[in-house]
Symmetry: C2
DNA sequence: GCATCATTCAAACAACTGTTTCAAACGGTT
DNA sequence: AACCGTTTGAAACAGTTGTTTGAATGATGC
């Protein structure tokens, strides 16, 4: 019911798949559960996308392509504002976080962003084979551009040290994202505080930026 | 072939399952692939463990129970040395890292630790339902004890803020160590530097400790 | 109205999943 | 040797998976 009857079959499949993938993972989600939720026939998936693998890629493409385009544009503008100089580390990651939030039209409802985050987490942890290749082939250039900017803003950190710190940082982001909903529930019980996704991102950004910026090599 | 013929059926199943779960995840690993690798009959899993779910739990129990026992003892000793005072943050995580490394008898071979961490990662991201319950029921007390110590050494950080930072930190550790083999290869190509596992832990510990210790709330 | 195309549908497909069955083999005890 | 409980073995089980089929349906252009 969340997807209106106005949209076409392919979009309804993508909507349903997006939700179910984020909730249960890829292999745990059957085509039958997707088509049932979407209210379409089982064969529609293979007809419109060719295979389940292709559907997975289509789900990622639908939200990752606009995201990378937005990020690239944001980076262009930031560079222009700074006369070709890359912005400081906090701004760089703040920009990243804002670009993520910008993809969610309804900012009061976290679910869209939550799905976005979980999918990103899945992409990192569950992607063996075809998905990993797909993501590398399509979005590696944006990723490398961002890393290069981080590199330029932290010239005091050696390349090797920075390499590891970036992966530490990616790890904290990806893992938190991958289980945001669960963690939020635990936090509600534990600390009696309700954190919005925006709150969490605003804690993650300085966490990452500070850790990357430490001027001692280890 | 990796597991010797001397060990009994149950252990050989656990060895095979451990490797395959870490490599492909739970649902992606079939009982047939496990028993084939272990060189035992298919029915042996249900005979010795009862079900696949129970096998998953047994795999976690085999490495998590000794680990938590070691960690508890190490914490006891550290508290005794400090007259009941919890050690500073760097030492606390250094102790954690050493306890992890201690579980790997063959310190020249990283694969055991890598599997350990990958399983921890799976527990984090893929555990819905039975596994999550199992882990909470069995190992939550050790976990809470460690968190409480971290809490006492960082009184300037609010409980909610610390909650999230700890999960950021766990994420970076689990993610990096879980793909340590792959990342080391990339680093060798990228920065022309060969990092031992110990090197990486020595970068990770201050990364985590510094990030947790930041005195501003966000 | 007719032909042509894309789309939908119910049904079946083969392959794989975890689990069960029951006879055979084993090892120790008397 | 005969008995015992424990363990292994090959085979089958029922259920689910992704995918394919071929007929029915719909809309579009002439």
């Amino acid at each position: 019911m969340p997807s209106s009857d106005l949209t076409d079959t392919a979009s309804r499949i993508l909507d349903a798949a997006e939700h179910l993938f984020a909730e249960h993972g890829f292999t745990e989600t059957s085509l039958r559960s997707i088509t049932t939720r979407a209210g379409v026939n089982l064969a529609a998936v293979n007809y419109h996308f060719g295979s389940k693998e292709a559907l997975v890629q289509a789900v990622f493409e639908r939200f990752l392509t606009p995201f990378c385009r937005r990020l690239d544009r944001e980076l262009d503008e930031a560079m222009a504002r700074g006369d070709g100089q890359s912005p400081p580390l906090h701004d760089l990651f703040g920009l990243l976080a804002r670009t993520m939030l910008a993809g969610v039209e309804d900012s009061t409802n976290d679910s869209k962003l939550s799905i976005f985050m979980r999918l990103l987490g899945l992409a990192y942890t569950q992607s063996q084979g075809h998905l990993r290749r797909f993501l590398r082939d399509h979005y590696d250039s944006t990723y490398r551009r961002f890393v290069l900017l981080v590199h330029q803003t932290t010239p005091h950190v050696s390349p090797n040290e920075l390499f590891w710190r970036i992966h530490f940082a990616v790890g904290s982001a990806v893992f938190t994202m991958g289980s945001v909903e669960t963690l939020r529930a635990i936090a509600r019980n534990d600390t009696h505080q309700d954190n919005t996704l925006e709150d969490i991102l605003h804690k993650l950004v300085p966490f990452v930026a500070n850790a990357l910026n430490d001027d001692r090599d280890h």
